[in-house]
Structure formats: C-alpha cells, structure tokens
Amino acid sequence: VFKKRRLDDAALEELEETLISADLGVAASQRIVEGFRRTRFGREVTDEEVKAALAEALAEILAPVALPMPIDPGHAPHVVLVVGVNGTGKTTTIAKLGQQYRAEGLRCAFVAGDTFRAAAVEQLQIWGERTGARVHAPAKHGADAAGLAFDALTTARTDGTQVLLVDTAGRLHNKSALMEELRKIVRVIRRVDPTAPHSVLLTLDATTGQNALQQVKVFKEMVDVSGLAVTKLDGSAKGGVVVALAQEFGLPVHFVGVGEKAGDLRPFEARDFARGLVG
C-alpha cells in the first residue's frame, strides 16, 4: 500500500516543482532540493517519506523565525505600527490583535492612521466597537497621519493604554513619497517616546509571489520592520515565499491570518506551515 520508488532525478525535479508551485521561488526550491540530492539521492522511498522529510527540512529553515511578538505593557503603551502594501490585511489584523490582547487582559487602543482611503477610518472604528478598543480618529478626511499618531500616543500615555495599535494607509514600496510619509510617522512617534514604535509589523498577503522579497527589503530599509504577519492563509495560496524570506532576512514571522473575523489570528508555527507547503 506504500509504494516505494527511487528518489532519482525525475523525482527530485517533481519535488522542486512542488516547492515552486507553493511560491518558494526557483532559487530557494533548488537549494532545498539540492540538499535532498546530497543526503537521499537514489534511495528507495515512499511518497509519504519524501513529503515528511521535505516538511522537516522546511520546518528547520522556519523554526528560527517562528517567534511570538513581544509585548511590554511597561512601555505604557507598547506601540505597534502596522504597515504594508494595499489590501494585505493591516486593518483587519489590528482588529484581531485588539481582540487577542483584550482576551489577555491588556487595554488596547487603535489609531486610524489611514486618513486617505474612502471609509478607512470608519472601517477601523467598527472594529474598535466590536473589540472594545478606543479609536483615535483624525479630525477630518485627509488629515496628517503623523500628527494624528503624535496626538494619539500623547493621549495614550496618560489614559492607561497598554497597547497602541497604529493603522496606516496601504502603500506600494516603490512609491518613495509614500515611504517617506511612513518614515515621518515613525519620526513623529519617536518624538513622543524615543523607544517607540516598539514593534513594526509588516503584513504580507499569502497570495503574493516573489514580489514579497522586494516588499520586505524596502519596508525593512525604510522603517525597520521588526516582524511579519502573513494573512489570508485560509485560502489556497501556500505562502511559500515565507521560506525565501526566512533565508534572506531572518525576520520573525509572528502571526498568520486565517480568516476575516476578529478571532482569526494564529501564531506562526514552523511545522504546521511546512506541512502546508508540502501538501
């Protein structure tokens, strides 16, 4: 019932294609399969054995970045700046974090820092109501996001907020003016608390292909991203580019988004994720 076959060139090529189809990218897929070639080439193995070994190899690469996002309420508040390309799930992820921290007994507030997109503030306000978080909103549409962050953090330091989640407008990393705006938000936050932001969380959509590498590179250079959240993993996309990201940048992957409700956030687990890639 467990059919064995030789792990020959054809079989290794098949493995490489499995990894490429999971968005690991050509370079990372070739590297991993090369490792397999050295240790297991020519042996008689079942498909199950190969998959398990492959998942193991992937889990080994991912384990070092499977770290929880440290929150220190002692910062009063701990400031989490959420950034990322348009539509990747920043606002919804903030709602999920708000829900999670509230369940942990932490007092949260949100900053509706997307002062540009239609109904962005209202979207976060609804999530604030649902998760019991105060929402700092701009005085009017198009207000300066940095100014809002300044006021919100100043207030949060006096009202017992323990975690302040700052939402920002989606932006493409190749738009220098928008990336400069983000740097300005960080500078302004720093004027209120030089140790803030304490976490800079970059959201990545699991359906993203190789462009994720460029996204992480530029956001990291511009605003010193401290960790990643991979969203929409409840879909059919495998998110394999995370493996290439782990090898290239070594940034912690704190969370995975697995749905659209406030409870749909999980810690990133290397083994589970690796098994998902291998299918």
């Binding site: 050509v26 059919s236 659209e260």
Partner: protein
C-alpha cells in the same frame, strides 16, 4: 534580465562551435527560470516554453548572428500572443456594453484585490468618457464600512449609488439595484461584491446566484498584479464556479513583474481588459499586451 542571461548562455555556447538541441534546451531553461521568477504559474510556463521551443527549432535560430536576442524576441512574441495580442485579437480592450440597458457588470475576486476601488474607477470612466448613467451598488454586507466605501467613491465619481438598506442579502441588494436601474433608466449597473476565497464553496455559490439573477454582460475577475503561483487555482475556480468574461489587474503601479496576468488569461481564456494603476479614481488604463509582456520578461 532575460536577454542578459541568454547572452551569457549563447556566448559560452558559441565558443564551442555549432549549437545543438541541448544548447537550445539550456537557453529554454533560462527562459523557464525567468518566467517563474516573474510569477508566471508553473503549468503556464511549461506550455509557453514548449511553444518557444517549437518556434525556435522552426526558425533555425542556431545560425543566427545574435541568438540571444532572437530567443528573447521569440519569448516576447509568444507572451504577447498568449496575453491577448494574437491573430484573433479584435483589439476591443474596454468593457463591452453591447446589451439592452441596464447593462450589469459584476465585479468578483479575492479579498483585497481592488474590486471596490476598480468599481469606482470604471464608474468614473463610463460617466465622463462614455457619457453613461451609472449606478454603483455594493453587495458587500460583510466587510465593515464596505458599503460606505463604495458610496464615498460614487460621490467622488459623480455617479449614483444604491441606497444602503441594512439587513438585506447580496441577492436582494442585487435585485433591488436592477429594479431601480430599470425604473430610473440607468445605462449601467456596477455590482461590487465582497472578497471571497475561491475555495469557499458557499460564497462562490452565492455570487453565482447573483450572476444568475442579474445576467451581467461582463463578469470581471479583479486580481492583484503581485499574485504568485496561486493565480491558477483562483482563476480556475472563478471560471468554473462563476464564469468570467474579463480580467482586471490592479496595482500595476507597483514593481511586481505581473506574471499572474499570463496565468489567469491562459487558464480562464478571458481577455485582460483593464489595469489599475494607482489609488485615485482616474488611475484606470486599457490593457496593452506589449507593455505587460515586457514587464514579465524584466
């Protein structure tokens, strides 16, 4: 870029003298890697490389003065043909409105792909350029403030949006939109739907039911230019479960190579109609296969 890599391949091959099938195979391996790195899906890459191989052998490229350039041109031409520049391309790039008014256009796609913004953009173009009376309707009863988002965009575009009535199902909203459009003689109804996973059977059935009830002249699959290998699964599911007449690729103002465009076109057979090139409502462009082919090749 691909031409650089191929020049490298052919340079070292030329020193050996005549080119063999194996040499062409090596060049094609470079083409395959370039396309995969551009996010073209694996099965689509295989097909395209096979077509390039047939064309290359047919062209006796081996005796060429600059074989690298010739191969790049072959790949470029195959890409353009595959993307929709082929002999059967009628050049009609925009949205088809050739149906009895009110013409419905259904917008579908994964979460966050740009459906709502694109609905606003299409509305603006139909109103300003084509002088149409447009009704924008949000069937998204799920995402917080989604209906307000579309209502705001309608105001910016200077078009009417369907009044929001809480508690209605997407199907009820769609039917109300078509009723209003018929009564008040709208030319076009743009139906914005909630983002949904292609693997969510219930939600896919829901949008298929909306389609059956409204009989849209266009069903546009809105996809993000940075989509990777999953483009095939998503496109297949939307084509099989809903039926797609056109593709809109958004966020091409980013720096993603955009290989998903080729994957989606190949899998659905639907033409790529429009491109989203920015966040403002006027950032809507017609699709030109030449530009996207050049971008995929890098």
């Amino acid at each position: 870029a691909l031409s650089g890599k191929l020049t490298g391949v052919f340079d070292k091959l030329r020193r050996r003298g005549a080119l063999t099938d194996a040499d062409v195979a090596e060049a094609l391996r470079e083409v395959r890697v370039a396309l995969l790195e551009a996010d073209v899906a694996l099965p689509v890459v295989r097909d395209l490389v096979a077509k390039v191989r047939d064309a290359a052998i047919g062209q006796a490229i081996i005796r060429g003065v600059n074989p690298a350039q010739q191969v790049v041109k072959l790949v470029h031409d195959q890409l353009v043909a595959a993307l929709g520049g082929g002999l059967d391309d009628d050049g009609k790039r925009g949205i088809s409105l050739e149906a009895a008014a009110p013409v419905a256009i259904l917008m579908v796609g994964l979460q966050g792909s740009g459906k709502t913004t694109t609905s606003g953009k299409i509305a603006l173009r139909l109103r300003n350029r084509d002088k149409k009376k447009v009704l924008l309707a949000s069937l998204d009863v799920h995402r917080p403030a989604a209906q307000l988002q579309l209502e705001t965009l309608a105001q910016q575009a200077g078009v009417t949006s369907l009044p929001i009535i809480a508690g209605q199902s997407p199907l009820q909203i769609a039917q109300r939109a078509m009723d209003l459009a018929r009564r008040e003689l709208f030319d076009v109804v743009l139906l914005d739907t909630a983002g949904r996973l292609a693997i969510d059977d219930a939600l896919m059935a829901e949008v298929a039911a909306v389609k059956a009830a409204t009989n849209p002249h266009e069903t546009l699959l809105v996809v993000d230019a940075m989509t990777g290998q999953d483009a095939v699964q998503t496109a297949t599911a939307f084509q099989e479960k809903v039926g797609v007449t056109g593709i809109v690729m958004t966020r091409i103002d980013g720096d993603a190579r955009g290989g998903a465009a080729l994957s989606m076109r190949a899998v659905t057979g639907a033409p790529i109609k429009l491109l989203g090139a920015g966040e403002k409502l006027d950032a809507l462009e017609d699709f030109h296969p030449d530009r996207i082919a050049g971008r995929i090749l890098g």
